[in-house]
């Protein structure tokens, strides 16, 4: 298969993805698609740092929560419209990524991972104890619209955000930054010897990787109109982002897209089969990650690429 054929497939998927704007789909399907795209955004964010650079962050779901809270607080206190709140959410998340990453990205490889272990929980505690958030969460002062309209508007916003994130990953991979972080992922010392300012590029990648989860969190807030610290900072978000990226193929632009789709479909089937189990989400994602690491460490798209000698981005 040539590169051209691959892009043909991508364009077909794109046309499939814009069908909901023209045809009235059942609400259940649209809700499932929205949830899928929310998760896909977190995976796309994690892929920039975990896939391209091989720096595993276990606290990436924290940026989801930060995005959600930024939007919720702006909505509650200033009644700001989505056109303003979503960019501010991305900005706030990148700033927090800068603050968190500035010290911790001076560490290398596994030591950086050590420093991200309890990051999710720290943010959850912060937002539980802080006076402007609180343990009860925030309910947005919005009147709920007609259900189908809510789904389709959310789908539109998510669609644009996912498209933007894919283009961002593309741009990173093609640019100077992408080369630098790829070199860091392969051999950090060699990259440093070659004259790459590793800390600067790592920090840049970390800041960019915080943007898609923040957008996802912001759109989630508009979608559900209620957030609380335990759900938006749940470690299950970070874990499922890692699991689905590894499933699809870490370091490939379309890895998280394919991975999250398969992951969410499998999860939905499991939920349908065992509706009464509470921790299913966590168990399922950890078992998937374990199987992927043991059976095919490159992920589905990575294995296909290797087997058929494709030039998939």
């Amino acid at each position: 298969m040539e590169m051209r054929n691959f892009f043909f497939v991508v364009i077909m998927v794109f046309f499939l993805a814009i069908i909901p704007f023209f045809v009235k789909l059942p609400i259940y399907l649209l809700a499932l698609l929205n949830l899928l795209l929310i998760y896909m955004l977190i995976s796309l964010g994690w892929n920039i740092i975990g896939g391209l650079m091989n720096y595993y962050s276990f606290g990436h779901g924290a940026f989801f929560g930060i995005g959600a809270y930024t939007v919720a607080i702006l909505m509650r206190d200033y009644r700001a419209p989505p056109m303003i709140t979503l960019p501010i959410a991305a900005l706030v998340a990148s700033t927090i990524a800068l603050i968190v990453g500035y010290p911790s990205l001076r560490l290398k490889g596994v030591y950086f991972t050590f420093s991200t272990i309890s990051l999710n929980y720290i943010f959850m505690l912060t937002f539980t104890l802080a006076p402007w958030a609180g343990p009860l969460g925030i309910t947005l002062p919005l009147h709920p619209l007609e259900p189908y309209l809510v789904e389709i508007i959310t789908y539109g916003m998510l669609f644009i955000a996912v498209l933007g994130s894919i283009l961002l990953t593309f741009w990173i991979k093609r640019s100077h930054l992408g080369l630098a972080i790829f070199a860091i992922g392969c051999d950090e010392d060699a990259a440093k010897v070659r004259g790459i300012n590793t800390t600067k590029y790592k920090l840049l990648a970390f800041i960019l990787s915080a943007i898609p989860p923040a957008l996802s969190g912001g759109i989630y807030t508009y979608y559900f109109l209620y957030i609380d610290p335990v759900t938006v900072f749940s470690s299950a978000l970070s874990i499922s982002a890692i699991a689905s990226t590894l499933l699809g193929g870490a370091g490939l632009v379309f890895g998280p897209v394919i991975g999250t789709s398969i992951y969410m479909i499998l999860l939905e089937i499991m939920r349908y089969m065992f509706p009464e189990i509470t921790g299913l989400h966590i168990i399922f994602s950890s078992i998937i990650m374990l199987c992927i690491i043991i059976i095919m460490p490159r992920g589905i798209l990575g294995e296909i690429k290797e087997k058929f000698r494709l030039r998939v981005p």
Binding site: Y56, F58, L107, V110, F114, T278, L280, I282, I293
Partner: protein, 279 residues
């Protein structure tokens, strides 16, 4: 004045339990050469098991046999069937695998016990020592954690199996040359490290409330302790545990309560930056 003594004692109690938990982690890290991110998940699992035993069957949580043996079996088979598969992988991958196992244990705990806060409902009258009232449970927890730690240290220092384990930690190839069964003893060492968590878990469960997602929080704390003390010595882990326990409780009376939660994260980052920046 008495509040300061009370706080100091609370810090020591917390520190003793932290020290026990993280000396198990430091020991397995030293012997097996891998950081085991499941250590705190074992502890929470042990706490839940002894919670269940106490609530359902009235078994005293101070009888550690069942949680300890469950943790031992978990650690043993975990190293035998999972970790040995990843012998040639980079350390990041092995750490990720152990973290995934921790998440898996967390998921099963959520399935069985839900994600609410639990606490082992055992209450004793406080005792008065030098004019200070101290909850008896906490005093008992401190004594038990120190006794178990001393037993563990004596085992490592004088028993021939303990000596063999230390030899594996220093040089596995040389240990194999002098006739030590490296594979089996590594499995047993993983089990012993886990069974220390099997003691520390119920003790923490007696003092504080716990839920499955606390494993990530405790993991950050014990990594902070182990990296502060260094993995070569279990005594350093105990001391660092006391240090963190006292810092956390003392900071809780002077600073906002949030700071005392974040302090272990800050300390972990500081230790990592000072010790491992040039690695």
């Amino acid at each position: 004045m008495s509040i300061y003594i009370e706080v100091l004692v609370n810090g020591l109690v917390l520190g003793g339990v932290y020290g026990l938990l993280s000396s198990g982690l430091a020991f397995t890290w030293h012997v097996l050469g891998i950081p085991n991110a499941s250590q705190s998940a074992y502890a929470i699992l042990a706490a839940f098991i002894s919670y269940w035993l106490f609530v359902l069957y009235g078994v005293s949580p101070f009888i550690f046999v069942i949680p300890m043996s469950v943790a031992f079996a978990l650690g043993f088979f975990y190293r035998r069937f999972l970790i040995t598969r990843f012998k040639d992988s980079p350390p990041l991958m092995i750490f990720v695998v152990t973290y995934i196992m921790a998440i898996l244990i967390e998921g099963f705990m959520v399935m069985f016990w839900g994600s609410e806060d639990h606490r082992i409902p055992l209450i004793f009258a406080p005792v008065q020592i030098f004019g200070v009232y101290i909850p008896f449970v906490r005093l008992l927890a401190l004594v038990i954690s120190i006794v178990v730690f001393i037993a563990f240290a004596l085992f490592l220092k004088y028993h021939h199996v303990g000596k063999a384990m230390r030899a594996i930690g220093q040089n596995p190839d040389a240990a194999a040359v002098v006739g030590i069964n490296v594979e089996l003893l590594s499995d047993i060492a993983a089990g012993i490290g886990a069974s220390l968590a099997g003691v520390a878990g119920p003790l923490l469960g007696l003092i504080y409330s716990f839920n499955p997602s606390h494993q990530a929080l405790w993991l950050g704390k014990i990594f902070c302790i182990v990296l502060l003390g260094g993995i070569e010595s279990i005594y350093a882990a105990l001391l660092a545990g006391f240090l963190l326990g006292v810092i956390e409780t003392v900071s809780a009376i002077f600073l906002p309560v949030l700071i005392s939660y974040i302090i272990s994260y800050g300390l972990l980052l500081l230790v990592l930056l000072i010790r491992f920046r040039r690695v």
